[in-house]
């Protein structure tokens, strides 16, 4: 038995998959933007990936048990950060999501994703039962819904939603009773129509998005236009795709934010169904590899951390891909590792840092 965590113990096959997906993302960003005013974005994305990798190594050095020790403080810092954003946040596109840190803007809600993984891992580990009581579930819900509410307030429906699967998946592995799970899912199923009835409390853009999702044909130039254009891009790509840099929907800018949230639509147009298969199977491979890490974790705390990361990552892919083909409304959720974006990319690599952290210590006492 080794007694020191070593870089050699990193999950290199997993990082290989991550590398391939990231590379495909950079290529598609290049294809989507090279002929536009945004040319050169792929270099910036490469830079973010580099920063993310450095962050990954750094976070893997700190024992996740130490991080879990600090969970309450991290939680409070996260909540405070979200409050700061609401008060003095930096507005962009009508939403307060960023705070300025030494010239760089930071999306605090991305950080909150990491914090909620750690906090819930700590909580579920502490409950130490295979049968979660309703009281336990209520506490989980409370822990989760406070930051969710604050992020919704920004407003950022997409990121807020992302915290929920961490709690759900955590509860699932912490031993939620099947009947509770069933009731919970039923409750969510009932909550959606309820929320629909309360849609007038939503921001106009959220109302618009929901409206558009339900009736895309009514507004071909508004938000429904985005979904339609995305579907046209995907559908017209066909089985083999139109070829790298040859997607008219993509190159002519019909696909909305084609380098970010809709990068999968751009890829689907240019690389076809084949390309989509490759990408989605890579993501599946990534998820299975993460589950493997969870299975081999030294303790449940480690498993919760890994599965928290997996939950967010998987949910991102599920929602993003569904959005691209028009199964869910436009929610502003990026495709992790592929979509352009500093905070998102940094988050993903930091999350992998946590995973490596757990893996490296599976044999360590």
């Amino acid at each position: 038995m080794k007694d020191r965590p070593r870089v050699q113990d990193f999950d290199w096959p997993l990082l290989g998959i991550v590398g391939v997906i990231s590379l495909l993302g950079v290529l598609e960003i290049y294809s989507s933007t090279h002929a536009s005013a945004m040319a050169g974005m792929h270099w910036r994305q490469l830079m973010w990936i580099g920063i993310g990798i450095v962050g990954m190594f750094l976070i893997s050095r700190i024992d996740y048990h130490t991080l879990l020790d600090q969970a309450p403080i991290l939680y409070l810092v996260g909540i405070a950060g979200l409050l700061v954003v609401l008060v003095v946040g930096y507005s962009r596109l009508g939403a307060k999501r960023w705070i300025s840190l030494g010239g760089q803007t930071l999306q605090v809600s991305e950080l909150m994703k990491l914090i909620i993984i750690i906090v819930l891992a700590r909580y579920f580990n502490e409950v130490r039962t295979d049968r979660l009581t309703l009281a336990d579930l209520a506490k989980v819900a409370a822990l989760t819904l406070v930051p969710v509410g604050l992020i919704l307030k920004q407003p950022d429906l997409g990121t807020a939603m992302m915290l929920v699967p961490v709690a759900l998946v955590g509860a699932f592995f912490a031993g939620i009773e099947w009947k509770h799970l069933a009731v919970g899912l039923l409750l969510i199923a009932l909550l959606v129509p309820l929320a629909w009835n309360m849609r007038h409390h939503l921001k106009p853009y959220q109302q618009q998005r929901i409206e558009t999702f339900l009736h895309p044909e009514q507004d071909q130039r508004g938000a429904g236009y985005q979904i339609l254009q995305s579907e046209i891009a995907v559908g017209s790509g066909g089985f083999w795709g139109k070829g790298f840099g040859k997607g008219s929907q993509n190159q002519l800018g019909f696909v909305p934010v084609r380098y970010s949230d809709f990068i999968l639509a751009a890829l689907a147009e240019e690389q076809g169904f084949i390309g989509v298969c490759v990408v989605l199977l890579l993501y599946l491979g990534l998820i299975l590899r993460l589950v493997d890490n969870a299975q081999k974790a030294k303790d449940r705390a480690g498993m919760y951390v890994v599965m928290g990361v997996t939950a967010i990552l998987g949910f991102h892919v599920l929602v993003n891909a569904s959005m691209v083909i028009g199964y869910v409304p436009v929610t502003g959720i990026p495709l992790p590792l592929m979509s352009y974006g500093g905070s998102t990319t940094a988050f993903v690599f930091l999350a992998f840092g946590l995973v490596m952290n757990v893996r490296m210590r599976r044999f360590v006492n």
């Binding site: 580990n125 130490r128 254009q229 017209s236 989509v276 989605l280 993501y283 705390a301 997996t310």
Partner: protein, 622 residues
């Protein structure tokens, strides 16, 4: 070890495995979704993607302006907007009609009628509902882009003819390129391009046409422009400078306004056309927007042929103006002695047929000079008989009659100068000698155009230099022809022409000008032969084409003007003479720094006693 972390629980392997299966299932679920779009409905979406696309929009280059010899704008272009009605969405169209009716003031019925008329044209071709939109119209379309997507604006360049009819036949007009022209020049033109159709617009089309630019815009599946990809600016056409003098042109046009005829004024030294008018005419501005079919048909079928440029296309009997050619031929050929004299009793018999002089009382004994001054027919019958048609042909043709002058205008007619060879070739019989007698006074088969006469007179007065008439200023490659005439001939003939205006009894005496050696010759060509005219009787039988060709000074003219007034019962000196006189006078007034004004009675020296009473003289006293 932290108190919360007690490793007493097993990893829930079963649920982790379940998680993996659910993940795989969800990926398959997503792939099915992509499969549906990319494989099952692929064609549908490929079709939609095709509709999203790049649409090239031409940026129309304005045609070059035309300036007069002093740089004044005669023709230019201005940007204008057309309002297009998109027809590809019938339901939307139907709904929009009432709003369009209200906003653009086009009756719904009219719109419906236009739509019905275009029913069988491809749906993607829009309908031009307003060819020249006002500012209010443009604003209306702009402000209703969201709720009236069926309306579109299209920028075009239109031709503007500030002087309207004044220059119409010379400048011509523009129109959409014809299918034939398109077929010939597929690279240069595209359907809908404006090209010169007549006159200078056509002649110099290649010089003044600009190079259209191109804007590529991205349009979405409903045809709305999303953004501009690139933009190649249009290169405007270059302006051209004409030899026309707007002042002289205006005077010529005013004088001829209510008549049927033509006038052409030319610089005697260079061949530069200073003025060219043909009446009746049209307004080229009518062609600049879009000429309604009825209007076009009316112009084309008008018996007064307003589209004909009579200055170069009217082939008319020259009448007595031809006598100058006869005089030149007589002196040059030496077929007759220079002092040849004929007695005019008012008529003469040649080849058993009676030929009348216009002056029934006769002119008495007539020599060349008085023959020209009084325009004695009998004198020239005799000259003609002695010369024979081929000598007449030689000199007339040498002076440019029956041949195109080569002026830089499309459609110039050659006229006709008959000869024995021509009769053989066309009619396959021998020349009737009697015909020569008619030709000698500019009747019979001979026809000329005003531009030919102007050039021929100038040649006679300049010792045989046939200048190349042209309308484009600053041309260096004009090919002047030479048909050398002896100084003696020139002196005698020009003295005659000076006498026509400046000697009492001259057929142009009423036209004389102070301080200008205004010379010329009148002509009154019968539309019917003398005999036929007598039979018809009344006004119709007496209809004539009145000519006057005048120039100044007497030798080596600065300016030569030929005018014809058709279908009058009056004499050429009366109808066409004042037109020529006014232009010549204006030319010298301008040269001397006086304002060019149409002449009035006070500029004419007091009239002397007119010794002979003839139709011309009668006209003068009126």
């Amino acid at each position: 070890m932290a108190p919360w972390n007690v490793i007493d629980q097993k990893i829930p392997q079963g649920r982790l495995a379940l998680f993996s299966y659910i993940s795989a299932a969800l990926v398959i679920f997503l792939l099915v979704g992509f499969w549906k779009l990319q494989v099952v409905q692929s064609e549908h979406y490929a079709d939609l993607a095709d509709k999203n696309g790049i649409r090239p929009i031409a940026i129309i280059a304005p045609r070059g302006a035309m300036l007069d010899r002093e740089g004044r704008v005669l023709v230019d272009s201005y940007p204008s907007f057309s309002i297009l009605l998109m027809r590809d969405n019938p339901k939307l169209l139907e709904r929009s009609l009432p709003q369009i009716e209200e906003g653009l003031g086009i009756a719904k019925e009219d719109l419906q009628q236009q739509l019905d008329a275009a029913k069988f044209e491809p749906k993607f071709l829009p309908l031009v509902v307003k060819p020249a939109a006002s500012e209010a119209d443009i604003e209306f379309v702009d402000s209703h882009r969201a709720d009236l997507p069926v309306l579109e604006l299209e920028m075009v360049q239109r031709r503007r003819y500030p002087f309207g009819e004044m220059l119409a036949n010379t400048i011509g007009y523009v129109g959409e390129v014809s299918p034939q022209e398109l077929e010939k020049n597929p690279d240069r033109y595209k359907p809908g391009d404006l090209v010169g159709k007549a006159g200078l617009e056509r002649e110099y089309n290649d010089q003044i046409v600009g190079t259209d630019g191109m804007k590529r815009v991205v349009v979405n599946s409903v045809g709305k422009v999303i953004r501009t990809l690139d933009n190649i600016d249009a290169i405007p056409g270059k302006p051209i400078q004409l030899t026309i003098d707007e002042d002289l042109q205006r005077i010529a046009d005013t004088d001829l306004a209510d008549k049927q005829g033509a006038v052409v004024a030319m610089d005697g030294h260079t061949g530069e056309i200073l003025a060219m008018v043909s009446r009746p005419t049209f307004d080229p501005n009518d062609f600049a927007v879009r000429i309604p079919a009825q209007e076009w048909a009316a112009l084309n079928s008008d018996p007064n042929t307003p589209l004909l440029n009579r200055a170069i296309q009217a082939q008319l009997a020259p009448g007595s103006t031809f006598k100058i050619i006869m005089a030149t031929a007589m002196l040059e050929s030496k077929a007759l002695p220079d002092d040849f004299t004929a007695f005019c009793p008012g008529q003469a018999v040649f080849y058993g047929r009676v030929f009348h002089c216009w002056q029934a009382k006769g002119h008495g004994s007539v020599d060349l000079h008085s023959g020209i001054v009084h325009s004695c027919d009998v004198f020239f019958y005799n000259v003609g008989q002695r010369l024979g048609i081929d000598k007449i042909y030689h000199y007339a043709s040498g002076l440019g009659l029956g041949r195109r002058t080569g002026i830089d205008l499309p459609g110039e007619e050659p006229g006709l100068m008959p000869s024995e060879e021509w009769v053989q070739r066309v009619y396959h019989h021998k020349w009737y000698a009697g015909e020569t007698i008619s030709v000698a006074i500019g009747q019979g088969a001979v026809t000329v155009t005003p531009i030919q006469l102007a050039r021929a007179y100038n040649a006679v007065a300049s010792g045989g230099v046939l200048v190349q008439p042209h309308l484009l200023k600053n041309v260096t490659d004009t090919k002047d022809e030479r048909f050398p005439l002896s100084d003696d001939t020139v002196e005698k003939v020009t003295q005659g022409m000076y006498g026509v205006i400046n000697e009492g009894g001259g057929t142009g005496y009423a036209l004389r000008l102070q301080n200008v050696e205004f010379s010329g010759k009148s002509g009154t060509a019968q539309l019917m032969s003398y005999q036929a005219g007598s039979k018809v009787g009344g006004r119709a039988g007496k209809l004539t084409n009145g000519w006057f060709v005048g120039y100044a000074p007497r030798r080596n003219p600065d300016i030569v003007v030929a005018a014809v007034v058709q279908g009058s019962t009056e004499h050429g000196g009366t109808t066409a003479g004042p037109v020529v006189r006014d232009i010549v006078k204006a030319y010298y007034d301008k040269k001397n720094g006086r304002l060019a004004q149409p002449s009035t009675a006070e500029n004419i020296p007091p009239s002397r006693v007119i010794p002979v009473v003839d139709p011309e003289a009668e006209a003068q006293t009126r």
